[in-house]
Symmetry: C2
Subunit: 369 residues, 2 copies
């Protein structure tokens, strides 16, 4: 077999700043460089490692474990002597502190897909409206192009800052839609630029009063995602009903650096016990139904780590898995009418001038941090 | 559902020192105690956590991730504030250093299964011979009983010390049979006391000239395991032949505390490159075929972490996975006739008087450390 994942192929579809990277790495003078990639780019890991090793003479090790976001930095590489981590494809999460293990360099990896055609197509649904723009780190540097195309089509674009879990204007995570909430009152609808349902569903779920359109630059498809929320809410209703039957509840705590809510989890143990449920703290690195088999006598799990494990992987687990807010419904502390998505919030407003953030010419709405 | 895994049930089958544990924990005055269990005992985790919390008033969190041995301490619990880890079911591995993350208390968990009946049964195959005894931490405290029963049946038992990857006399790991090698020359055969093939296969493979009998105290079964080695060797032969076809080779490094051989792995990259293969370091926490899918253009993997992933899970992986010694055969540095098992050795002889080691009345053979 021949290595088929070269840098030329990577550069066809991605804007990735590899040129300055070697110098940045040399500045830090590391012993061993760890490289961490999301699924879509990991294929090019060996070629990137080769380029870095050739330019710097410093050894690289590629993390083979899954990487789901900047919340999931490969701290375990510290144990094999990595003193500098280069994390590709996600933007930094300033709300995470305590990453003392090593230096982290974030290398944004932008899609080269042109956004104008699909955004003009989406504009047909949005004419005359004020539309909040949302996207992921992958398309963040295209938001000015999106604004121009929309204005040209008679749509008034609006971009908001999130909290300090995200750094780019308009940026959405699977667990955080503060960049949407900031501008919800001024918007008639939202337009998400990107692929898949994973990211826009968080915002559509959190702000269900507003229509949310997806414009996918990869497939040129335009569609609404709001109708998926009803189906998800039915699932959540069933999970809550089933969890009420539990005698013993496992409170799951994630050990990944940006998914840890151990104090919150301890509070939930107390809440359960006060309401007559037995409860235990269970720590998990990699969530799987197999790992929870040892706790099969528990009637329900409350997951305080990534909320998307709860909502998206629900059907994979034998026992009902619910969010902390859903537990409040189970124990009667919150009503079903006050249902909220388990958003993973930052600690304060986003740092507007973060060195790694994309700069937009278009105005951005948001609290001054 | 009702919690069905109580301490009474645990104590029916296991000798576990929970009485002194609370005092030991209080002495260390931790903020949050992590509890780590192997699969078979994790069921009782909540009951053990309850007992500790009741006696000490200190919160416990149970690790839900798999625990394969003392090589696999849950260091990631450090990130959620755990400052004391209580590790059940495995004995300490003195060769591991650099566990600065937190204190670790090892709680041996011995099987209560009587060994005498099955050992007397095994003695029928062994009469008149000098027999090396092997077991796991689970049955370590029964070796004196084993010796007595064997002597009674006209067998001369022999127990050896391993290196400092194991602390108990006669102790076998899935990756380490130094306690067998120490006494191989004086022995006519080996007798392993324990369940399953996982542990005895390592010794049978490493010392194939001697017959190895298994006496299983749980099932009362006596059998030989040597005939499985031929089948495994055929598999290894095929893996080596397939790996020779590779252009690019991934050198896998484990990040778990007792499975790290990063210097060794770097040396293997150099070896590959000198022999005309392209090679890359890949770090893995949890090994799975899915995780290696991103490296599907690689023609082979060399695994420097737990050797049993290579030999036992071989069929699960798409590309051939081989051991470092098998790579030497691939590149022509070692002959097939000099095939050796990838034993994970300690750094020096075992510390005979380790505070956590089982003490035998019977003589133990071994180098003075």
């Amino acid at each position: 077999m021949v290595a088929s994942y070269g840098l030329d192929e990577l550069r066809k579809n991605h804007d990735i700043e590899l040129d300055g990277l070697a110098a940045k790495i040399e500045d830090r003078d590391p012993e061993l460089v760890g490289l961490q990639f999301p699924d879509g780019i990991r294929d090019y890991g060996p070629a990137i490692a080769d380029a870095i090793e050739e330019q710097t003479g410093i050894d690289c090790v590629i993390s083979g474990d899954p990487s789901f976001g900047a919340c999931d930095l490969a701290l375990q590489l510290e144990h094999i002597g990595v003193d500098l981590l280069v994390h590709f494809g996600h933007s930094p999460m300033p709300s995470i502190d305590g990453i003392d293990a090593f230096d982290v360099i974030f290398v944004p990896t932008y899609s080269k897909a042109p956004v104008e055609p699909v955004v003009r197509k989406a504009a047909q649904h949005l004419e005359g409206k004020t539309v909040g723009l949302l996207t992921t780190a992958q398309h963040a540097q295209r938001l000015d192009d999106v604004c121009e195309a929309l204005e040209d089509e008679g749509v008034d674009p609006l971009v908001g800052y999130g909290d300090n879990r995200v750094i780019n204007p308009g940026q959405l995570l699977g667990c955080n839609f503060t960049a949407a909430r900031t501008i919800a009152e001024q918007s008639d609808a939202f337009l998400y630029i990107g692929s898949g349902d994973f990211h826009p569903i968080a915002a559509a779920w959190g702000l269900k009063e507003l229509p949310l359109y997806v414009a996918d630059p990869m497939t040129s498809e335009v569609r609404q995602v709001n109708d998926r929320i009803e189906e998800l809410m039915k699932q959540r209703h069933a999970a809550i009903a089933n969890a009420k039957e539990a005698d013993e509840i496992g409170i799951l705590v994630g050990t990944r650096v940006g998914q840890q809510r151990v104090k919150y989890a301890k509070g939930l143990v107390t809440l359960c016990e006060r309401k007559g449920f037995e409860a235990h703290l269970i720590a998990m690195d990699y969530f799987s139904p197999e790992a929870l088999k040892s706790f099969r006598h528990m009637g329900a799990f409350v997951n305080t780590a990534c909320p998307r494990i709860t909502t998206d992987d629900y059907a994979r687990y034998d026992a009902p898995m619910i969010t902390p807010q859903e537990l409040e419904i189970v124990v009667g502390k919150r009503s079903w009418e006050d249902y909220i998505f388990d958003e993973f919030k930052g600690t304060k407003p986003a740092p507007h001038e973060h060195e790694d953030a994309v700069e937009l010419e278009h105005d951005v709405v948001g609290e001054d941090p």
